[in-house]
């Protein structure tokens, strides 16, 4: 008798928690929903005195078709994709090596690299873009996607190195030592023993680097002046004109630039959660 009452009570509690959380989630997700609605409806309907919160008719893919045919959205996407893929791969390689050194070796070299990376997070991107503009100008890299890749790495690696270090810290040294007794080199042990055990960390690194470089507006604006080299974020802002805004076109481009990140996030969320919290929960 008492236990059924307790069960009913906890059932009601679960129900209330669910309803409250669902309302919160609906509010949080509303901007994403409203962007998609804005991309699917003509602006005359969404920006009106009485916009339909749940549209039932008038939905059209016109803005997406316009974006992909009349505007170089596909080209921006391709540029973004190249930069994002390169930044993710390079960030993984560099932060695996650096994270391993920070985790396993002590000494002046690893320590100073480690502190410089921590300090790098204190640097505002807008300040960093000034000397990077000068350096890449001297190297003739302005307007190339290469400059963007290098600039994005300066933002991702300081974070992902420390993230991977904490993953590598949890791999027992004895495993590598056993492999080295069996005749492999340290690099061999790193590749064959440590790397497979830090796959979630590498996954988190890749997602983090991908989201950051895919979203970068600052470096893309400063280092790329030719519209040929525009990435999605620069392209999306280009819909904002001096006098008016092509709303549905911009929201369609925004939707296209958001979807890959959300898919990536949903698929790799568990890895990412572990990656982002690896340093945080110890405190």
């Amino acid at each position: 008798m008492a236990s059924t009452r307790a069960a009913a009570g906890s059932g009601r509690r679960r129900g209330i928690t669910f309803v409250v959380t669902a309302v919160v989630a609906a509010i949080v997700i509303f901007p994403v929903y409203w962007m998609i609605v804005g991309a699917l409806l003509p602006t005359s309907i969404t920006l009106s005195t009485d916009p339909p919160l749940i549209p039932t008719h008038g939905l059209t893919l016109h803005a997406f078709v316009q974006d992909l045919t009349a505007r170089p959205v596909a080209h921006w996407m391709l540029n973004s994709l190249i930069v994002t893929a390169a930044v993710s791969v390079i960030s993984m390689v560099i932060s695996l090596l650096a994270g391993y050194s920070l985790s396993r070796f002590s000494g002046v070299g690893p320590t100073s690299v480690g502190y410089t990376l921590l300090l790098a997070r204190m640097l505002p991107g807008t300040m960093l873009s000034i000397p990077l503009f000068v350096v890449f100008g001297k190297l003739g890299l302005i307007d190339s996607l290469g400059s963007l890749i290098l600039a994005d790495i300066t933002i991702t690696v300081p974070f992902t190195t420390w993230m991977l270090k904490s993953f590598i810290d949890s791999v027992p040294r004895e495993l590598e030592q056993a492999a080295m007794i069996d005749g492999t080199t340290r690099l061999g042990a790193l590749v064959r023993v440590v790397m497979p055990l830090t796959l979630p960390g590498l996954g988190a690194t890749a997602v983090y680097a991908a989201i950051l470089s895919w979203s970068d507006l600052l470096f893309a604006r400063t280092l790329i002046t030719n519209p040929d080299g525009w990435t999605m974020p620069v392209g999306v802002t280009s819909f904002i004109g001096a006098h008016d805004i092509d709303w549905s076109g911009m929201l369609a481009a925004g939707t296209l630039s958001m979807i890959p990140m959300i898919v990536l996030f949903v698929l790799l969320e568990p890895m990412l959660v572990r990656g982002l919290t690896s340093g945080a929960t110890k405190g």
């Binding site: 669910f18 919160v24 090596l97 400063t222 945080a280």
Partner: protein, 313 residues
């Protein structure tokens, strides 16, 4: 434990015997470190040295690349520190950073506490609540620009419908509302990071602690005060510092929306550095302001961190 150390010692004895082998083993940290070290030197340390140099060159140069030929001088720092706009902008930066970080923490903690409870479809709701973190800043900006449109935006429509206002503010064009209107997308994108790290910290608390407290008759407030809070305060401090730095440096959630305007109402130092350098072509004073903001960030983090730990946590 003793077995492991013994094994470790055994390995060291059996390590590389030849001189070449020992040398190679000692060289590994440096070999592995060379790609990241090159990156750090070439893409972080050298640009920082360069920006310090640029800030110390006479500020007349309009051409960013030619500033190295100007004579040495502290005129940029004098210009920046005697300009009243610098301090107005600093005030905006403080408001923007503190309010955004505080609201992100509040919403992040609230959602983390909700999501740590048992409920149906928890995994789905968690993903939905965390999604804004993955949305590109520019995209967040344009959505809020759309929602907060002065005449026909959905937010003003809602405000009109519930009878709060007759017309609704011109969010991004009115100096009195523009700051709130850029804080909104910043909090929306910033709070899930708090949710994420606080949820992980909450889930690491053993249930037995709560059960024991309940048996002892502790109230919900007491359980939060004596069990939950001590377990998450370290994570909270870290989250405040990381989110604070992120907000302090934000570019893509302000610049596309207002460009720092109207009338400087949303011009944080980060935005001011950018416009000084790339719109007004004053690379010298932009660099000086950049260096000052690094110093400010270091001083605030270094001084706030111990105080927060001691006083409030």
């Amino acid at each position: 434990m003793t077995d492991l150390t013994a094994a470790g010692r055994g390995v060291r004895r059996r390590g590389p015997r030849t001189r070449w082998g020992r040398l190679r083993e000692r060289g590994y940290p440096y070999a592995l470190l060379s790609p990241p070290a090159l990156l750090v030197l070439g893409l972080i340390a050298y640009p920082v040295v360069l920006v310090v140099e640029m800030s110390l060159r006479d500020g007349r140069a309009m051409n960013i690349s030619a500033i190295g030929q100007e004579p040495w001088s502290i005129s940029n720092y004098v210009d920046v520190l005697t300009d009243g706009d610098t301090y107005h902008s600093l005030w905006i930066t403080a408001l923007y950073t503190v309010i955004s970080t505080f609201l992100s923490l509040l919403i992040g903690l609230g959602t983390a506490l909700l999501l740590s409870r048992d409920m149906p479809a928890r995994r789905l709701l968690r993903t939905l609540i965390l999604v804004p973190w993955a949305v590109p800043g520019v995209v967040a900006s344009v959505v809020f620009l759309f929602m907060l449109d002065g005449s026909y935006g959905v937010v003003n429509w809602i405000l009109r419908s519930v009878g709060l206002t007759e017309h609704g503010p011109q969010w991004y064009f009115d100096p009195s509302t523009a700051l709130a209107a850029v804080i909104a997308p910043t909090v929306w994108k910033g709070f899930p990071f708090f949710t994420l790290i606080l949820l992980a910290a909450l889930q690491a608390i053993p249930d037995e602690l709560y059960e024991a407290a309940r048996v002892d008759g502790a109230s919900a407030a007491a359980r939060f005060r004596y069990i939950t809070w001590p377990a998450i305060r370290g994570t909270t401090v870290l989250g405040i510092i990381l989110t604070g730095l992120w907000t302090f440096h934000t570019f893509d959630l302000i610049y596309p929306l207002t460009g720092g305007g109207p009338d400087g109402a949303t011009e944080t130092w980060a935005i001011r550095i950018y416009t000084e350098a790339f719109s007004f072509f004053h690379p010298g004073s932009a660099s000086a302001l950049g260096i000052l903001s690094v110093v400010l960030a270091l001083v605030v983090v270094a001084s706030v961190f111990p105080i927060m730990r001691k006083q409030f946590f």
